[in-house]
Symmetry: C2
Subunit: 431 residues, 2 copies
C-alpha cells in the first residue's frame, strides 16, 4: 500500500469479529437511564419489550463483545467488509493538501448503515424464539433495514411509519413490503394509541413518538413479538462499531491514521459506529478531532445536557443527553434522518467532556447539497441527504486545510446512498 | 476458502489488468459489418464519429488488450473488484442441491454494469482531446453511466433520451443532471433530425433509433465531440469482460468451476461481459452451459441470423446478428433494457454455433418479478428489472436441479440494482 492507494479492501477473514464497547473506557461513567419522579415503571416496561441480549449489551462492562458467527455470516452476506476509498479526484478539484478518505456504507443491501444493527437484532430475536419484530421509522431507512434483516432470518416485521413521511415515500414503502413487512401509516387503526389519535383527527400526520408508542403497544400485546430500536441506545451504537473497526484496520493497512473523523449525526448511530473505535486513542491523548455534521433544524449537540425523554409521548425512561427538548418543533428538512431532538447518551457524554465538535448547517440545505454535488461529480457516488452533511463538512474542512496549507488526513463516513432520494436533490438544487 | 464460503473478495492487486478479446478465439471468423447494396458510406460515417481507439479494439486480433493504468484506477475508484456471493439462504429456501453464486454488478456508482465501458470510453475520449461525449439512452442506465464517467474525467456529456421514457423517469434524469450532463428528450429541438420530427408531431414519443440519429448528428457537427455506444459492439462487450474475468478468478479462489452461467440479454453487453471469459473453456470441450434470460417482448436470440441494421433509422452499417427486424414493434415491459431487436454480433455467432441457450419469459413479467422477490427476501439485494430476468432464470435452473437431484454450480450476474425502479416492482407485484 502507499500514498497513491485508491481504495482499501479489507480481506473478509481479517474483518472484526467483536464489537467495541466504549462503556468501560469512558473517562467518566455513563449516567444511567432513570424513571421520572412519579415513579412510572418505564424502565420495567421497556425491559419487557426489548431483547434480553440487547439489554445485557446495553450495560455490558467488557470492552469487546464477540459477534456470534451467524451474525458475522450475515454481515458478510451483506457485503462486509466495505471498502475505504481515497477521494483523490475531489482533492485535486479542491486543490487541497488534505488527504480525504471515505467509508462506503452506501454499499448496503437496503442503502444505509442501519443494516449493521438490524441484522444483529433480527438474529437475536430469531435465536430467542420470537416470530415477529415491531418498530417505528421516520425517514424510512431503519424500517427498511429491519424489514430486510427480519426477512433473511425468517421473521415477520411490523413497521409503524410516521404518516407524513409514509404517504409520499411510495418507493421505500414498496421496498419494505417487498421484504415482506407489514407497513402501517402511524397513527394506525391497529393499536389503541393509534385509534385514539385517529378519533381526534382522521388525517393525523403522526410523529416519531407516536410511532414508537404504537410499536411498543403492539409488541407488549403479543408474546411472540419483540420491539427493536434503530438508534440512540448503547447497544445500537455498539453494533455499528463494525464500521469504525473496519476503517481503523484499513488505515493500519495504509500505514496512516486520520487527523479528523467526520460524519452526520441525528440520533448518533452512524456517527458513533464510525467514531467510537478511534475514541480510546483520543482518551490517551492522541490529537484526533471528531466532527459531527448536523442541521440547524435539529442541532441537538448544541442543546442542553440533561435528562430527557427519548420520545415525544414520554413512554421511554429519561436519558442524560444533549437535547433540544423532547417536544421541540423542528423545521422539515430533506436530511430527515437528522431531525431528532437529542443525541445518544454515549455521544452526549463525550461531547460534554469535549471530545466531539459539531457544525450545524442552515436548514435551507443549499450549501450541503452543493457540496454533495461536488462530491458526486468528482467521485461518482451518490450520498443520501443525511450523508451529504458529512460530505459537506469534510469538503469544508479540506478547504480550511487549503487556506492554512495543512496536509491533514480527513476520514468521513457516507452512511447511505441517495438513489431513493433524488427528489431531495431536485428540490434543493433545481431539476 | 471452502464449500461454506459466503462471499469471495478478490484483492484489488489481483484484479484483471487486461480485457479479454474473444475474436481470435472464435471457432469461426466473425462476419464483418457491411454497408448496404446502395453503397451509402455508413461505415465511413461511423468511423468519423466514434473513438479511434474503440474502432481499433473493434477488430483487434490479440487475445488480451491491456487496460491503461488510468482506467484501472477508475475501475478501482468505482469499487472494483466486486464481490462474488454465494446465495446459501436462497439455496436453502429452494431446497435445491445446486450451488448458487451471484456477481454483484449492482455495487456500481450509478447502479449498473454500464460503468465498465463508460469509464473506458470517457477516458479514451479525454485522452484523445475531446471535450464532450454524446450518446443516446433508452432505459437510462447507459446515459447515467456515461454522464458519471465523463464527469470524473472532466468531459461534458449530451444525452438524447427517448422522450417516452425521459418524461416519466424524473429521478434518473435528475441523476444525469447531477453528474453535469445536458439531457434532451428525443426528438429534441437541438438537432435537424429532431426538429424535422417535432415539426410533424410536437409530442413525438421518440425511439432509440431516433435518439441514435440525434447523438450522431450532434457529434458530427462538433469536432470537439465524440459519440459513445453502450452495447452491441465488440469493444463494448470486451470492456465488460472485466466482470467475467473477476468472476473466473473468484471461482479459482474457491477451487470451483461453474456448470451454468446465466444473465439477462438485451443488446448483450452484460451477458457478453460475464460469459465471454469462460467461452474458451467451452471451445475446448468443457461442458459449460451459457443461458441468456430474455423477454418474449424481445426474444432476439430466437429471431433470424442475418444482416440487419443496429438502429431503427438505418444510420448504422448492417451487422450479422440474431434479429427480430430493426423496425420490429415490441411490447413495453418493465425490463426496458431488454427491449432491443437484435443481439450483439459476437453473441449471435456463438448462438449460431450452439454455445448459447436462451429462455424468453412472458411479457407480463409476473413470474420474473415473483422470482426476484424470492431472491430479495432470501438474499436482501434488490435487482434491477432487467437483472431480475437473470435471477428468475437462475432460480428456475436451481429448481430443475432439485427435480433431477443434480448438484450443479450455477453462476449468475446481477447487472444492476433496482432502487430507482421500485415502481416496476409495484406495478407488477402490487403495492
Amino acid at each position: 500500500m502507499g500514498g497513491d492507494t485508491l481504495s482499501v479492501h479489507l480481506p473478509p477473514e481479517e474483518g472484526p469479529d467483536a464489537w467495541y464497547n466504549v462503556l468501560p473506557d469512558l473517562p467518566e461513567p455513563l449516567p444511567p437511564p432513570k424513571d421520572d419522579e412519579a415513579g412510572q415503571p418505564r424502565l420495567k416496561m421497556l425491559s419487557q419489550v426489548l431483547l434480553k441480549e440487547c439489554l445485557r449489551q446495553e450495560t455490558a462492562t467488557s470492552r469487546w463483545i464477540p459477534i456470534p458467527q451467524e451474525i458475522l455470516d450475515l454481515y458478510r452476506q451483506a457485503g462486509r467488509p466495505r471498502p475505504l476509498f481515497r477521494a483523490r479526484r475531489l482533492e485535486r478539484r479542491l486543490d487541497t493538501p488534505a488527504k480525504l478518505y471515505f467509508k462506503s456504507e452506501f454499499y448496503s443491501p437496503t442503502g444505509s448503515h442501519k443494516v449493521n444493527t438490524a441484522l444483529a437484532q433480527a438474529w437475536y430475536a430469531a435465536a430467542a424464539g420470537f416470530e415477529r419484530v415491531t418498530t417505528e421509522t421516520g425517514a424510512g431507512q431503519w424500517g427498511t433495514a429491519l424489514s430486510y434483516a427480519a426477512s433473511l432470518v425468517g421473521l415477520k416485521t411490523t413497521v409503524y411509519w410516521v404518516r407524513a413521511v409514509h404517504d409520499w415515500k411510495a418507493d421505500r414503502r414498496n421496498l419494505m413490503r417487498l421484504y415482506g413487512a407489514e407497513v402501517h401509516a402511524s397513527p394506525s387503526p391497529v393499536t389503541e394509541t393509534g385509534r385514539q389519535l385517529l378519533k381526534e383527527d382522521a388525517n393525523h400526520p403522526g410523529s416519531l413518538g407516536i410511532a414508537v408508542s404504537e410499536g411498543l403497544e403492539d409488541a407488549r400485546a403479543d408474546p411472540k413479538a419483540v420491539y427493536c430500536l434503530g438508534s440512540v441506545l448503547n447497544h445500537v451504537l455498539m453494533h455499528q462499531t463494525i464500521i469504525g473497526l473496519e476503517t481503523k484496520k484499513q488505515f493500519e493497512m495504509l500505514g496512516e491514521y486520520p487527523d479528523v473523523l467526520i460524519s452526520c449525526l441525528g440520533g448518533g448511530s452512524n456517527f458513533g459506529g464510525f467514531a467510537l473505535p478511534f475514541m480510546p486513542d483520543a482518551f490517551h491523548g492522541r490529537p484526533i478531532r471528531f466532527l459531527a455534521a448536523q442541521s440547524e433544524a435539529a442541532p441537538n449537540l448544541q442543546g442542553e445536557y440533561r435528562y430527557d425523554f427519548a420520545d415525544h409521548a414520554e413512554l421511554t425512561p429519561q436519558l442524560k443527553m444533549y437535547t433540544l427538548g423532547h417536544r421541540k418543533e423542528m423545521t422539515p428538512i430533506r436530511g430527515d434522518g437528522l431531525r431528532y431532538h437529542a443525541a445518544a447518551p454515549i455521544l452526549s457524554l463525550l461531547r460534554h467532556l469535549g471530545y466531539i465538535e459539531t457544525v450545524a448547517y442552515p436548514a435551507d440545505e443549499r450549501h450541503v447539497f452543493e457540496r454533495a454535488r461536488m462530491f458526486v461529480q468528482a467521485e461518482g457516488f451518490l450520498p443520501a441527504p443525511e450523508s451529504a452533511y458529512g460530505v459537506a463538512c469534510a469538503i469544508d474542512e479540506a478547504l480550511k486545510c487549503k487556506e492554512k496549507g495543512e496536509r491533514k488526513t480527513i476520514a468521513f463516513n457516507i452512511s447511505g446512498h441517495g438513489f431513493m432520494d433524488m427528489e431531495a436533490y431536485r428540490a434543493v438544487l433545481g431539476g
